[in-house]
Every structure is written in structure tokens, then in C-alpha cells.
């Protein structure tokens, strides 16, 4: 398989995921804004994606609508939902002969619909509807990939992109929200608003899961445990890295060679497997998550070096 093909597939999956993740975060933020009078939550969203400086430059005195616009349909922002769908579709278009018709048509259809929406938008966009639509389209594309792609090396590259992006997203949400939500000097597990933590869970679609797993009130350290260490939650760090480890293992077997990416994934995965939430909090959650985000980014670089550059 061409290295550039693997690269396109990997990034296609990352962009689909990024669009979905952004929609989930914005949805939760939207709901939160209805409940609280504080603007801290929505102001923190660009920070999750490392876009705070760019956002501030474009919108010196921003409103929440500005933020929503910036992260959904603003094509000047390369991480907006619209930009992500466009990029995913362009990656797919380059590889249309390596994709199934279902997957290609799903992404192409999304892009065509988006074009239509962008033309008809003006000022009156219904963000709630747009976010619903985004989630639906992304889930459909992911579903098309999972239900139609041949389980060969191409599939593994798609899944790698998906899992690496998900892990990155989960870690960033938890890191930023934890810091924003926790005022200076506040003890973990203190009197924080229940709704705010519920919002964090909603960002990864895990609010009900939390209820089912813990059947207890929402406590910060449990939210963190769920998002980092839960082995059966599809967006937890442990789950994502487990999948990455498996995909890289399959590629190593297929190609008869293990490389630095394979080793690094194994290391990150093991670290998560044997971690305990109380130690993580003792050593500092922020430090732990920053460490993970850096490690995950390095993993992505090694995947590039080993497979995508040829």
C-alpha cells in the first residue's frame, strides 16, 4: 500500500472524529450555558483545542455565538467542523479507489449537504440543529467504515486515526475542564456544581454510562477514573490505546516487522493498564494528562515516520 494512501486514510479518520468530538463538546457547552449564568465554560472551549490565541485575535470581545461560529462553520479555522469535513472528504477523494462506496458516498454526501447549508446560512444558523447533524454524519461515516471496509492494512490505518484522535480529545477535555471547573485552591471533591461535571461526561457521551457504572452521585475523581482508566468505555484513554496497540500489532504481523510506533503504543498502553486513579491525583492530574497528550502526539509522529512517509 502507498504510504500516501495510508496517510490519507489515517487523517481522514482523524478529521471525522475531530468533527464529531467538537460537536459533542459544543453540545454539552450549549446545555451548560442554559443552566448557568457563568461564561467560563464556553470561553474555555477554544482552549481545549489550543485555539485560544487565534480565537482571541479574531474575536477581541467574543460572544458565545462567535465561539460557536468559529468552531462550526468558520472555514478560516482549520479545526472547525466544516474544515474537518472538507479535509476528511478531500482525503477520501484522493483514495476513493481504496474506499468502499458506502464510506465514500457517506463522506461525499456530507460534504455536498454542508455546501448547501453554508450557502443558505446567512446569520440565522440553528447551531443546535447543526451539531445534531454533525454527530449524525460522523457516526454514519464511522459506521460505514466499520461495517464495509476489508480488514486489511487500510482498515488498521483508519482505526489508528480514529483512536489516536479520540484519546487526544478525551485527555484535552478532561484537562481543560478540570482546571476551569476547579477554582484555585479548591479541594478535589469539594463543593463543585454537579451540572458542570455532568457536562464533562456529556462531552464524551458518557453521562448515562457513569450512572450505570457507579450508580452514585457524580464525583470528580470518578469522572476522571471513568475517562482515563475504564477498560470498556469506547472513549476512555485506556480503551483507545488498547485499540491502537492492537491495530499496530496487526500491522506488525502483516508486514513482518515491528517499529518504534509499535513499541511506543505498547508502552503507553501498559502505563494506562497498571495505573491507579488515586496515584494519578496524588501526582497531579494535570501533569498526568499533559504527559499523556505529549506521548500520544509522539505516537502519532512515530506512526507517520514508520508508515506514512515511506
Amino acid at each position: 500500500m502507498l504510504s500516501s494512501t495510508a496517510k490519507n486514510l489515517y487523517w481522514m479518520a482523524r478529521y471525522i472524529q475531530r468533527a464529531e468530538n467538537t460537536a459533542r463538546v459544543l453540545e454539552a457547552t450549549n446545555r451548560m450555558a442554559l443552566l448557568s449564568n457563568s461564561d467560563r465554560e464556553w470561553r474555555s472551549v477554544p482552549l481545549i483545542y489550543g485555539l485560544d490565541a487565534d480565537f482571541a485575535e479574531r474575536h477581541p470581545s467574543p460572544t458565545m455565538r462567535d465561539m460557536l461560529h468559529y468552531l462550526t462553520i468558520d472555514e478560516a479555522n482549520p479545526s472547525s467542523v466544516a474544515s474537518c469535513f472538507r479535509a476528511a472528504r478531500n482525503n477520501a477523494r484522493d483514495e476513493r479507489n481504496n474506499l468502499t462506496i458506502d464510506l465514500w458516498e457517506s463522506l461525499n454526501g456530507t460534504w455536498l449537504e454542508l455546501q448547501g447549508m453554508m450557502r443558505g446560512i446567512g446569520d440565522g444558523i440553528d447551531f443546535r440543529q447543526f451539531l445534531d447533524w454533525t454527530k449524525k454524519q460522523a457516526v454514519m461515516a464511522t459506521g460505514a467504515a466499520q461495517s464495509t471496509l476489508l480488514r486489511d492494512d487500510a482498515y488498521n490505518f483508519v482505526m489508528l486515526g480514529l483512536q489516536v484522535e479520540r484519546a487526544d480529545n478525551t485527555a484535552r477535555i478532561l484537562d481543560v475542564k478540570y482546571h476551569i471547573l476547579l477554582p484555585k485552591g479548591e479541594r478535589v471533591g469539594g463543593s463543585l456544581d454537579y451540572y458542570q461535571w455532568a457536562e464533562v461526561l456529556s462531552c464524551i457521551g458518557a453521562y448515562r454510562t457513569y450512572r450505570r457504572v457507579y450508580s452514585s452521585k457524580i464525583e470528580p475523581w470518578r469522572v476522571a477514573e471513568l475517562m482515563i482508566l475504564r477498560h470498556d468505555l469506547p472513549r476512555s484513554l485506556l480503551f483507545c490505546l488498547g485499540q491502537v496497540d492492537r491495530n499496530l500489532g496487526e500491522l506488525a504481523e502483516l508486514y513482518g516487522a515491528r517499529g518504534e510506533a509499535t513499541r511506543l503504543a505498547g508502552k503507553l498502553y501498559s502505563k494506562l493498564r497498571y495505573a491507579r486513579i488515586d496515584t494519578i491525583f496524588q501526582d497531579g492530574l494535570h501533569e498526568y494528562l499533559s504527559d499523556f497528550i505529549r506521548g500520544n502526539a509522539r505516537l502519532s509522529e512515530e506512526i507517520s515516520r514508520q508508515f506514512l512517509m515511506g
Partner: protein, 488 residues
């Protein structure tokens, strides 16, 4: 000006046919269709227009959903429009096709012999049939291809020869395309769509299939490897998804099961070409390139090009990789060389040309230029290196200002232009806004040359959708039709 008489391929009216009998002409005056179109005419009479309009919408949706798009450079929304597809097929009899096929194979063999000669001894010049400057001073001449001996001596592996028809028995070659001719994917997709929309029509006709094209193409590509001792790796090199014919590149690569690559996927080491894969470098033997000469190798041509592969030309010269079509083919298909093609047939093959050229005036000759300037309102003037229907003047449909603009251009750089009479292109019934009406068509059959020379029965029929327009190019609002060659 008197109303022009156009030959209509269904009714048989118009045009000046020499062989048509009186009885046949009468039958046609009474509204009977020519024999190959009898059942099409019957079908059109029986099918309500509403139903045709529905089928057309269905076809459009199919093309759009499959992402079968064509980007005409300079279109309003940047790129990606579908080429309009007309539902009514263009029909050729077996007899008509046999004639065209013989002519196309003959012409392509002559063009190949010429290209091989032009980059070796230039016997045709020594024999006094063509001035050597016609080759050496041609902008498209590639010095680095001089003396290069290619597998099977083939240079124009894939040729698209544009034909027009003016009467029941007269066809002309409008131009030869032997660089990177495009459009074959539409020939194939149009057939697929027609068979899906109108299976009953295919039951009523015996239509020769065209679907084997990609297999013939792959066979040809495999046959022209320099490295005959090993299983050849064949790839398709595209400029990328922003190229107007990208859909076709992806389609052909997919149909042949070969890798679709861009320049950045390839590198040259020690005159061998490799592609970058997830398993490491893989050696390449034959490159079906859809990148123009000028962008193919920054070391040999345009140094700014990012579309090509550095060192590729050296690899070809070393006999380590073959590129299809060959380098420097542009000297054979520009509009000034066109004039010499009948002589090429006589010189290389010792045969009389089967297919005729359109009479052509060369504006670099003062007598010809004088005539052209006096008759600008009747003629078609074309740039020698122009393509895609751009940079041309169609006298009868142009305004005074446009004609005067060309008069200036011709005076400034006469050697850049040729002129031809405005041909009475035949018409075919076409579904337009208000029902079915005749529209002008041309035909581009595709000729493959490897171990032998073959043509798929049919080709791409392009149709000028605007009433009265003679310009069929897709970049100028033309559409396409499925082209049928009837079986015995």
C-alpha cells in the same frame, strides 16, 4: 448568409451524400429514420417526454452521487460539475464502424512511425516530405527524447482521434490527441448508466460492448515494459485531485487494479523508479502518466513543478522505466503537424489515407494568410497549440468585434494560427429543455497501441448542447452521449 444544411444522423436529412438513392431520400423526407436509428425513433415516439425527463434526473443523480465530476478550469464555483449526459444514444452501423476502425488504426500506426522517426533519423525530412524545422523548432519537441528507442517502437500508446461527420458517408479527422487524451471513462460510464436506465433498449439492439477497454489498456501497459524479464509493476501518475480529469485517473486505476500515485509517492534512485509504500520502497516498471511533459521531471523540464518526479527522464533514458504516452509526443498532434499526417500515411505505410483531413490554411504562408483575412467571417481560426475549444474563432457565430480582434492577432503572430472552413457537423437527436431536438456532435474513439493496435467499438460522442453551437468541448458547455456500434 444562407441557412446551412446539416446532416442529421437520425433523419438522414441535410448534408450532401453521394451514395444515397432517390428512394431512400424520399423515405426520409416522409419522416422515416435511417435504418440504424429506426428503433431509437420508435422508442422516442413511444416514450412520453415526462418519462425521459425523469430518467434524465435519475442519470444526473447517479453521476453526482458517484462523484463523476469534471472540473473545467475557470468555472464559476472553482470546480466539480458533472458533464451533462444525454440519454439518446448515438448509433453507428457495423459497416460505418469497420470503415472508421481501419482508418483509425492506419492513422495511429502512421503517427507512431512518425514519432519514432522524428526522434531518430528523421527519414521523412530526408525524403523531402516535411521540413526538418517542423520537428526541431516545434515547441513540443523534447531534445532529451532524441535517440530513445522504446519497447515496440511505440510512442503514442493511447490516441484519441477526434472525428466529425458531414454527410452519410463523409467523415473528417478534426484533430489527433497523442499526449494524454482524456474522456475514455465517460465512454465506459455512459454505457454503464445507459444499461442501468434502459435495459429494454439493449434487448432490442445488438450493441457491441466497450467494457473490455481497461483490460486492453492494462495488457498494453504491461507489454511495453523495458524490463521484460520480470513481472511488471504498472502505476498511474496523476497531478492530483485538483486536476480536471482526476475522476478519470482514479476510475482507470481502480478498474485496472493498479496504484494511483502522485509525484510525491515516487522517487528515483540510481535511474530506477520506486514508489513509497507502507512496506518500504517498491520498484516501478511502467508509468501511465496523466501529467504533461512540462511538469513530469523538474530536472529535465519546468524546475518549479511539484507534480513530477526528479530524475524520471534519466530513468527513461537508462531504459529502466517506460512512460506512457512517451515524451515529446506533442510534435505529432499540434495543428500545424496535422497537415502532414496524410503524407505520413503514404510515406511510412505506403498506403492511401482512409480518413480525410479537413482542408486547412496555414497562416504563416502569405497566400493562405491573405485568403484567411479576407474570409474571417466564414472560417474557424485555431491556435496551433490551443486546446479545449479556447483561443479559437468561429467566424459565422462571432461578432464583428471578435473578428476584428482575431484579425489583429493574426497579423501579429500569423505562425500561431491555422484556419479551416466551418464544418457542417452532423446532428443527433438530443433531449433539451423543450423536448427532443438536433444538436451537433463529434466523436473521439480511443486507439491503443502496444503489441498490436486496437480500437474499442465506439468512443466518446460529445454534443454541443446550445442550439446552433458547433463547440462540443466539455469546458465550453458540451455534453456526452453513449455511442453505439451495432452488431451484425
Amino acid at each position: 448568409m444562407a441557412q446551412r444544411q446539416f446532416f442529421d444522423e437520425m433523419s438522414g436529412l441535410g448534408g450532401q451524400s453521394q451514395t444515397q438513392g432517390q428512394g431512400q431520400r424520399q423515405a426520409q423526407q416522409q419522416g422515416q429514420a435511417r435504418p440504424p436509428y429506426r428503433r431509437i425513433a420508435e422508442w422516442l415516439r413511444q416514450t412520453p417526454e415526462e418519462q425521459l425527463a425523469n430518467k434524465r434526473r435519475e442519470a444526473e443523480a447517479l453521476y453526482r452521487r458517484h462523484g463523476i465530476t469534471f472540473g473545467a478550469y475557470g468555472s464559476a464555483d472553482g470546480h466539480e460539475t458533472t458533464i451533462p449526459f444525454d440519454l439518446i444514444p448515438r448509433v453507428l452501423t457495423q459497416e460505418e464502424w469497420r470503415f472508421l476502425e481501419r482508418g483509425l488504426i492506419q492513422r495511429t500506426r502512421a503517427l507512431n512511425a512518425f514519432l519514432n522517426d522524428a526522434y531518430h533519423q528523421r527519414d521523412i525530412c530526408r525524403a523531402g516530405k516535411m521540413p526538418e524545422n517542423q520537428i526541431l523548432l516545434n515547441e513540443q519537441f523534447v531534445g532529451l527524447a532524441q535517440g530513445l528507442t522504446l519497447p515496440g517502437d511505440v510512442h503514442a500508446h493511447i490516441a484519441g482521434i477526434d472525428l466529425v461527420r458531414v454527410s452519410a458517408d463523409e467523415f473528417y479527422v478534426l484533430e489527433d490527441n497523442v499526449r494524454t487524451p482524456s474522456g475514455v471513462s465517460y465512454m465506459l460510464e455512459n454505457r454503464e448508466v445507459m444499461m442501468r436506465l434502459f435495459p429494454d433498449l439493449f434487448q432490442r439492439h445488438s450493441v457491441l460492448p466497450v467494457g473490455r477497454y481497461t483490460e486492453e489498456l492494462l495488457n498494453m501497459l504491461r507489454a511495453v515494459s523495458f524490463n521484460g524479464d520480470r513481472e511488471p509493476t504498472v502505476i498511474l501518475l496523476t497531478p492530483g485531485q485538483y486536476n480536471s480529469a482526476y475522476f478519470e485517473h482514479a476510475f482507470l486505476a481502480d478498474e485496472m487494479g493498479i496504484e494511483l500515485v502522485e509525484g510525491s509517492d515516487l522517487f528515483v534512485d540510481d535511474c530506477r523508479v520506486y514508489m513509497r509504500t507502507t512496506r518500504g520502497p517498491k520498484r516501478v516498471d511502467v508509468i501511465y502518466r496523466r501529467v504533461d511533459d512540462a511538469y513530469l521531471d523538474p530536472l529535465a523540464f519546468n524546475p518549479e513543478s511539484l507534480l513530477g518526479v526528479a530524475g524520471l527522464v534519466a530513468a527513461v533514458r537508462a531504459g529502466q522505466v517506460n512512460v506512457v504516452n512517451a515524451l515529446g509526443n506533442g510534435i505529432a498532434d499540434d495543428k500545424s503537424t496535422y497537415l502532414y499526417v496524410p503524407d505520413m500515411v503514404r510515406f511510412y505505410l505506403g498506403e492511401e489515407p482512409i480518413l480525410k483531413n479537413v482542408p486547412t490554411w496555414r497562416c504563416d504562408k502569405s497566400d493562405d494568410l491573405k485568403y484567411v483575412l479576407e474570409h474571417l467571417g466564414e472560417l474557424v481560426v485555431k491556435e496551433i497549440h490551443g486546446s479545449g475549444g479556447k483561443g479559437m474563432l468561429v467566424g459565422p457565430t462571432s461578432t464583428k468585434a471578435e473578428i476584428e480582434e482575431f484579425r489583429g492577432l493574426l497579423r501579429d503572430r500569423p505562425a500561431n494560427y491555422i484556419a479551416q472552413p466551418t464544418l457542417a457537423l452532423s446532428t443527433c437527436p438530443t433531449l433539451v429543455e423543450r423536448g427532443v431536438a438536433p444538436r451537433h456532435v463529434d466523436l473521439r474513439p480511443f486507439v491503443l497501441s502496444g503489441k498490436e493496435t486496437v480500437v474499442m467499438p465506439g468512443g466518446l460522442t460529445r454534443v454541443a448542447l446550445k442550439d446552433g453551437s458547433l463547440v462540443v468541448n466539455s469546458s465550453q458547455g458540451g455534453g456526452t452521449k453513449d455511442t453505439w456500434v451495432l452488431g451484425a
